[in-house]
Homo-oligomer: 325 residues x 2
């Protein structure tokens, strides 16, 4: 089906979501079951984007796209369902590093995106084309069309600190180097992509998805304009804690939060977001944190946040939206 | 195995071959069985090269590489054996033309080459890396590191002539538009790749492979310096006719030769090459053409040129080399 079949006038953003990768994708899959998809705008982290073999890969945008498109690989937890790895395996023949496992179906996305970017389209334009091709009715916007990059300064047990790209630390080095610092190269000079500030300004509800606060939500907040706008609309902002019972549901958030002085708990998340977020939804098992969180001025809502199925995610989304109406 | 394992001092070129795609690949597969591979330098046409989806594809270099590497698809007659087409099929989702069937294994070559070219390596350097990765001992050199492009001016039965890239005419339009003219864009200003003129100057024997005279050998001859050097060494130059019994063994040579006034016969090939080629090897079925060919000053050798197996090709190669020693 040609992408033009999905072109439509922009609808007002009723719900704007700040999104990282897998956790956000699961929540958004619930949200589109709970609320009209065309009223949802997801603003997606791009600071993990990296070129592999000259192809421009956007891990978070693709996680959200594949999940909302219903073609995500639930067994692997990343990439496309029914995936094969013929091309990436064959690239090993040429002696290049192929630890980042780009699947054959997934490669079509990266090849298309890279070609379109080289032809002068913006990342936002290409993302729109791709999401329409997966018949996604919600709107996905990359946080920025500019290049921003998460740089992790890390060190082995007794080693010298060195800078790593996110995927190098996370995938290649399996989160083993100890994190000393994180910064977002290019963020200072980046501008929000067209539609980002409007979606945040117009939204009835702004959701911070259950994503890594440091490297998924952090880069979004580092783009000038976004954090200030959230602070202005603090009473409309709700976050879902990605930390349950003192540990991340998935991913390495603890290995990033702890060294940066953020408590690995839903309280730590609330404290981190409190300037611009009025409400935190945490898991029912963390009820004992409610008092601490409210003491720093953040309202608490508890729910089942373990999104073991789209139905559970939809129920969670309903609670999140209900709490803000 | 790392490509460096194949690095070796350049040996003097004993046999230099001008090569197109499939016909040349078959002949060269015979030649490396008949003569020491390290003494063979193939100079390969690049005028069919084209970008697809931003990936730089070299059909002739890859045909020769895959055949000499023993990984060519003998059933399809092009591409890699045991090939799949997952990525190219998936690209169709985005509404882009995917008639040029790049396989998943084949894509690894194009992705690697494109990335290396963008990083500043020359096509000759990348070709050397790729052929070493396929453990090919013969040397393959692209005719030029510059961009030259075959442009076919063609027209439907009663249509206006229009310009087509080679693969558009050959693959997409299935050779249906009638050829009016052929030219090689960029050839005038192109330089032979490093090593091309030296290989031709030093070779004991220069073989013009059984390739399409118009669009495979033609572009090589259009690069300044090559044809003149061949003419200087005319007594060392031997061509194998790709035309047998008045028809091409494979491919569309007749549809290109006839409109350009070249007789579709081994005589037509000999006449086309006579200025710079002393000897033509034609198929035994064309014995009746010997007198005509010798009358235009070209020596004749007949052989079984139907390369139905590498053994037949090796025998043909032995006859070609033997005729020049």
């Amino acid at each position: 089906m040609p992408p033009s079949a999905f072109l439509r006038p922009n609808l007002p953003s009723v719900i704007a979501a700040l999104a990282g990768g897998v956790g956000a994708a699961k929540f958004l899959a619930g949200l589109v079951r709970s609320e009209p998809p065309r009223e949802i705008t997801a603003i997606v982290n791009v600071a993990d984007d990296q070129e592999f073999h000259g192809l421009y890969v956007c891990p978070d945008i693709d996680s959200v796209t594949y999940t909302l498109g219903g073609v995500n690989n639930t067994k692997l937890g990343w990439g496309r369902e029914s995936e094969t790895f013929r091309t990436i395996d064959e690239l090993g023949r040429f002696g290049v590093a192929n630890w980042f496992r780009l699947g054959d179906l997934d490669l079509a996305t990266h090849i298309f995106r890279t070609d379109q970017l080289r032809k002068g389209r913006t990342l936002a334009e290409v993302t729109n084309h791709i999401t329409r091709s997966f018949e996604i009715e919600a709107t996905l916007i990359p946080a920025t069309n500019d290049r921003i990059t998460t740089v992790i300064t890390a060190a082995a047990a007794n080693g010298e600190p060195h800078d790593l790209a996110m995927q190098e630390w996370f995938v290649r080095d399996r989160c083993e180097p100890i994190v000393r610092a994180v910064h977002f190269e290019g963020a200072d000079g980046a501008s929000p992509a067209p539609g980002v500030l409007a979606a945040l300004a117009d939204a009835e509800i702004i959701v911070i998805c259950p994503s890594n606060p440091v490297i998924s939500i952090g880069p979004l907040l580092a783009i000038p304009g976004i954090k200030d706008l959230l602070a202005d609309r603090r009473d409309r902002v709700v976050a879902i804690s990605p930390i349950v019972a003192g540990a991340p549901v998935k991913g390495p958030a603890d290995l990033l939060m702890r060294p940066l002085g953020i408590e690995v708990s839903c309280f730590g998340v609330a404290e981190q977001y409190r300037e611009f977020c009025s409400t935190v939804v945490f898991d029912i098992v963390d009820q004992d944190q409610a008092e601490r969180i409210e003491a720093v001025g953040v309202r608490c809502v508890s729910a089942d946040t373990m999104m073991t199925s789209p139905d559970v995610a939809a129920k969670l989304a309903g609670i999140v939206v209900g709490a803000m109406r």
